[in-house]
Amino acid sequence: MRRLLLPVVAFLFLAGATSTDTNLTERQRALHVLNRLAFGPRPGDVDRVLNDGVDRWIDQQLHPEAIPDRAVDARLREYGTLRMSNAEIVQTFYAPIVEMRREAKNKADNASVSPQLRKEAQRVMQELVGQRIVRAADSDRQLNEVMVDFWMNHFNVFAGKGIDRFLLTSYERDTIRPLVWGRFEDLLMATAKSPAMLFYLDNARSVAAPENRPRMQPRRWPAMMRPQQQSQNRGGLNENYAREIMELHTLGVDGGYTQKDVTELARVLTGWTIDQRTGAFIFRPQLHDACAKTVLGVHFPAGGGIEEGERMIHILARHPATGHHIAYQLCQRLVSDDPPKALVDRVTKTFLYTDGDLRQTVKAVIDSPEFWDPQTYRAKVKSPFEYVISALRAVNAGIDDPMPVARAMQQIGEPLYGAQPPTGYSDKADAWVNTGALLNRLNFALALAANKLPGLHSDVASLVPSDRSVDALAVALTGGNLTDETRKTIKARGQDDAPTIAGLILGSPEFQRQ
């Protein structure tokens, strides 16, 4: 089956490498940044960036805090759950479900949770998914949304795991978004203390073996804490998070840690859990492993507390292997599926010299010759998210209801917040390109261009009022040129209406690439 898949991938890549070895033209540069540092151009965007200057546009995008985004802010005001805390969301949407389950249990019948409650609870995920789509499509802080997508995926939390669907709102808003332009260490620490991650990777339930717990005077716990206390008394170590923070979040799978380091780090992180009353992070010293530990050669004498984990996160965040791992992933996202070693090494140095300054690190990628190499231009296949959003932008779609868009992403293979494994979604094309997914992309393109997707409104004919030729539509929709082959194919069809031509352009191999 490799035989079938690889040619599809190869074709998409080969067709992209049509540029010569000369430098990109200014127009190509504008299109390139709109494809890589934004979710594709809207009609007229290429000209706007050209007018402002490509470098100036990049500089603005690197400082999103200075870009007003009033339209999106106003639009998102209708999503009430986006402003609720974890505790409020859990109280409002989850507690009634728990209560109903308890009642059903007592009655010993099979009454499940009422459809009404279920529907109410779905609002939380719908609004979270909705804001992601609206922001990616319509926000003027485009690079910011690209980086939010990158870091949400790097620190993936799966909405399908238990209560996490109620914790992701705060996770994205409070943990990820404020820190994507800050220091990596702060981002890492914030995720380590986020209820969403603590639950997702089980650290919330990882407790010291009873014989390793500190000897404390028995005391009376507040009534609310007792049940949790009892259930945790039976528990023990869970290595899940300790492994993933090293393997996926920092050092990388070949980052030089051992199974022993995983176990020891898990012990260091015992007691890092969720306060059941407030839904917030809490360190519980009585569940922390009080014995001595050694992680990556760092020794912790007996009797430590939360500062042990904080120190390890500090060390992990600045580790050279972490620098390399983060640099590699950023280059893979922004430059190419298999980024050149020289580029990764350079970006690694920036990461390490700047103490993990994420703005400087991203800037190092953008400033690199590799980023601007003609070989890089339109050489990367769009992820499902990138494809769908870029198509919405291409036709200037108005989003009345983002849910059908979310369903399209699911059909194309990557539902938002739906990556089950802690790795998140792959950033390489071979994970996306299969004929089934491609077919779903093409059908999405056709329906979108024909204004037949529920929840969206667009009018491709209005984008080219005077000249409805294939070439005019190609410029309006993609900001650039089609290959001769695609142009010939579409023209050979004879008389088509604008939506059909637009659907073919949005489904073309060129539009699959960025």
Partner: protein
Amino acid sequence: MINRRMFLKSSGLALVAGGLLPNVFVKMANAATTKGRKVLIAIFQRGAVDGLNVIVPYGEGQYYAARPTIAIPRPGSAEGAALDLDGFFGAHPSLASIFPYFKDRSAAFVHAVGSPDATRSHFDAQDFMESGTPGVKATEDGFLSRALAATKSEKGSPLRAVALSPALPRILSGTAGAVSMTNIAQFGIRGGPASGQIAQSFESMYGETVAGALGGTAKKSTDPQKLQPENGAAYPNGPLGNALRQIAQLIKSDVGLEVAFADVGGWDTHAGEGGPQGQLANNLRQFSDAIAAFARDLGSRMSDVVLVTMSEFGRTVHENGNRGTDHGHANVMLVLGGGVRGGKVYGRWPGLASSQLYENRDLAITSDFRDVFGELLTKQLGVGSLKAVFPTYDNSPSKWRGILA
């Protein structure tokens, strides 16, 4: 409930029913066929089905002691009793529609089987089972995808591997180019009356690489949508019934299907699990009826098809305070189809006495799920070496149970 005679008669094959071959599907092999193409269907019961109430060890007194309110009665002892399989195990009465296949030796069960990893997290355990590398999280692809990559396909059909699910499941993700869909009627270009032309245009743009894939490969020989269930098969309404009905259509329309996957949830019975009736019983009836309808629908084509079920882990031996069961360890698998040496419950039974339990609470694992799949992938799909399929596991044929002839 259909009996064996009715089953054969309804398949229009009563004439060949008297042979000595052990498997009912083989007996029917000279009727409608899959043209020799072997197909493997995998069904994942997500949420951890309570295998001890699916295939009941009624010969163990411990079973009844551990489950005062949810146990399935011994065969013949009461209403809703287990259907006797071999004098020790009995099937939940909701499996009545699968039971004739077991009696016909077309279906087998494997008990005390599972993934050796100790996790009791649904999320991790499913992940480990689908990646085929328990305990290793960095594995990017699924083992069925690796199995497909390890076999040669003469004419890489775009529908070689199909998951009836909205997103490509972990088990099929990877380089095998598996396709996921929820509705095969929608697997094609949807561009109104001009769909055919539009598909041609796209195929021209994408070249040979997707030839045939866009214009409706699924419609190649017959429109699978139009293939009605045969032999009087009646699929239950529900996700698994819908999935299996469509998988049968794909098999019948000869699109080159080799592996199909479907999943079905609702097995996480922490409370109010029920016994012969109730929550689990209802789910199991749907499950069994969907599989039985599938086998009946395919009729003699089943001689080239093997269907296998899995679930991430089993459930506690003892029922909990809510008349349910919590997350456990070993579980049971069903294998049904052509070449299956059925009529038998495979696997070494570890026992339910306290000292015999895993971590003092769960059914112990005596067969690794990769032993079962190793055998099926080798014999059914022709995978030559299992090294790349299960890289962290020594999959020696000596561990196979001999489930397939």
